[in-house]
Amino acid sequence: MPVKDRSIDELDWNDPTKIPFQVYTDESIYKLEQEHIFRGKTWSFVALESELKDAFSYKSTFVGDVPVVTTRDDKDAFHVWVNRCSHRGAEICRERHGKSEDGTFTCVYHQWAFDAAGECVGVPFRRGHQGKGGFPKDFKPSDRPLQKLRVETLGGVIFASFAEDGPTLEEYLGPEMVKMMKRVLCKPIEYLGVTRQYINANWKLYTENTKDPYHASLLHLFHATFGVYRSTMGGGAEVGGPLGMHSLLSAFTIENEDKSEYEKGDIRTYDTGVKLVDTSVLRVTPELDPVFTNHIQSIFPSMVLQQIHNTLAVRQILPKGVDQFELIFHIFGYEDDTPEMRAERIRQMNLIGPAGYISMEDGEATELVQNAITADPNHHSLMAMGEDGDKETLLTESVLRAYWKGYQKIMGVTKS
């Protein structure tokens, strides 16, 4: 039987520890994900409020494959609409970000104009000229708004959903995730800029990466080399949301940590005597409660809220076809940062993003998987570490199993 012809319902994944590779390589599954996940009953990150400081400022991005624009109106309400003119379908907003001086957004093709909320407010030559041409008499611009998404915010982060009858944002996130997001989003934040990466792998491989505490000290040798993170630290892996699709990995230093597994010498590059000249990037200045060295919170499908040492960021995952995704770090601080804390955050930016000492390998790891699985979609990976519901260990794949269980439900996989 040709492997490629299997539908998502025909995949062999009754064993929750085995994930068929076809879910990362199949174009038809990718298209189903766009419909069931990104345009389904989920909430996607679109912007930080502080990216849109002024009335009528805007930012263009994507929800899944669909181009969208987020705007702030003159009453400080946020709107998200599909970046597609309601006349003939042209892209309206062509800049990544900016500000509309008069509060309107005009399609260049036939100059239809829309307000910040996406209402159609202007149609040139609507009545034609000298009694000839124009739209029918009963045509009303107000009948042709842009396609709007639902919008909600949490702690200065703006989310959008295509689902008109889906859960509220808080229902979708679940109380545990809301509580822990507020650990980081505890006071007004200030946007400090963006980094963008293109990675040649399926987007879900990156989602997995952010739910996988096992790799952190093993792939990211910087951690072990400079003694800043070990899987023997305090920490945990927590699942959240009604479908178990969200998660939080946290790590903190503990007294009397048992490092013997590292000291045996089986793990590459542990304590090799290599030293940094400037150790300020390794420091964690306590500022959040509780004090974590790492807070990696994966909010399905498109967002990761992170605190690594004193760096703060919202990562956004944008699928760009079955084997490519864009990874965007929106880096922020707090409005009330002291000059010293702000300087510390800027120095520690060396830890994260595409050139980050402890994040640069993640994209490459997903490519290693994609490269090796593409030829064999009927093989599978193994996610068997730890017990389901594990909370207090970093040596578990329980969060990944919960994720894939939720994925099957959300994708409407009919077999059990």
Binding site: L192, L221, F222, T269, R347, M349, M360, E364
Partner: protein
């Protein structure tokens, strides 16, 4: 502000610095790379988008020669990445100076990257904005900002630009 004219001799000295810097990286002599900077320095690789909006986020940010050395220590001993080579092309340097001691230089760059599969790609394109000073008789970078247009970095950046 007086703008002292730039002599051909100075122009050639600055160009030598720009070229030697590029060659050092392309030849994988990365241990020598911090030596192109003064002890107290600023090196950053920043997306054009952030630079134009006055936002500080850079992908590499080092404000001392020690931090530059750390970049190389991490690259050699800690970070994990596939074998890769850079090839820098530098062009159009424009030099100005107000006092004859500090030189403001802007030049264009293109970095091609080749990995083990043998394909060379245009990896990172942008401009260098430099502040160059004389340190014990030798021209060095007091500030070097690589402002890149290629805002979608392919996979990762480990070698400095």
């Amino acid at each position: 502000m007086p703008n002292i004219s730039v002599t051909l001799e100075l122009k050639s000295e600055v160009e030598n610095l720009l070229n030697a810097y590029a060659q050092c990286i392309d030849d994988d002599n990365l241990e020598q790379w911090p030596g192109f900077f003064t002890d107290d320095c600023l090196y950053q690789v920043i997306p054009r988008e952030n630079h134009e909006m006055g936002l500080p986020t850079a992908v590499m940010w080092c404000d001392s020669r020690g931090m530059l050395e750390d970049r190389i220590t991490a690259l050699r001993h800690a970070n994990v990445y596939q074998v890769q080579w850079y090839r820098h092309l530098i062009s159009n340097p424009v030099i100005s100076t107000d006092d004859g001691d500090t030189f403001n230089v802007q030049s264009n760059y293109a970095v091609f990257k080749t990995c083990n599969d043998g394909e060379s790609t245009v990896y990172n394109v942008g401009r260098y904005v430099d502040v160059i000073v004389r340190d014990k008789g030798v021209l060095k970078f007091k500030e070097r900002t690589a402002i890149y247009d290629t805002h979608r970095i392919t996979t990762l950046m480990v070698i400095p630009i």
